[in-house]
Amino acid sequence: MQQNSGFVPEKWVDNYGDELYRYALVRVKDNGFAEDIVQETFLSAWKSRETYNGTSSEKNWLYAICKNKIIDHFRKQSSSSSIIVGKDEEMYFDNNEHWQSKNSPKDWNINYDKKVESKEFYLVLENCKKKLKDIQQQVFVLKYMEDLHTVEICETLKITQANYWVLIHRCKLHLRSCIQKNWLNL
């Protein structure tokens, strides 16, 4: 085992427990799952502590394990063949596939290039994400929060590429509309 001052398993829970919990919490749907993921992360790391070779920092190493636990969690949740049901698109478009006038995106009047620093935005985003169907939320997290490749996402969630794009589209329709309503009150 590395006798390295930057690797102190006895201190992990105190040093990283809260931040890994937050990392998991904003990615899964409930705090019980997030707590389980953090627990599994620390236990896996503890069991394989002998294999830590110092190529990444202790912190990054733990984050990488946590990321894998989240992907595993989604993999277990996805049924053997996730069927894409419903016609969510009908909520936004008319019979000619054009925006329903009441649902056409409004002018947000914000600077789109600036990182959002308002806590309220992220609170609204979390609540909007929770309203998504599980499979939509999982696609969103794997793509936009974990940066996984399309192929990897399709394998993890057992969906086809065509379904993948339908799901991404639906996530975006729902999230954009929910944020417009609840963050900007438009």
Binding site: P9, R22, E35, V38, Q39, P105, Y112, L125, K143, R176
Partner: protein
């Protein structure tokens, strides 16, 4: 050459991922020139996905003390 708003919004995600063809890009550009709604959709949904990864930084929840104790015990 004309596409519907449903098609344009679907294509916009593919474009964001760099997975559109030359022809699809032209169709999209043409559509945006006449459709404010779809232009806003592309901008706003990109904005959401670019900021989503910051979520944990703006959350101040903590792992429960009970769970911390359990984990520490399991690690002994």
């Amino acid at each position: 050459m004309n596409i519907t708003c449903l098609q344009a919004t679907l294509l916009s995600s593919k474009k964001e991922a760099g997975q559109t063809s030359f022809m699809e890009n032209i169709k999209l550009t043409l559509h945006y020139s006449i459709c404010t709604g779809c232009k806003r959709f592309a901008k706003q949904s990109k904005f959401i996905s670019e900021n989503a990864r910051n979520s944990a930084d703006f959350n101040d929840d903590k792992l429960s003390p009970q769970r911390k104790i359990i984990i520490k015990q399991l690690m002994e």
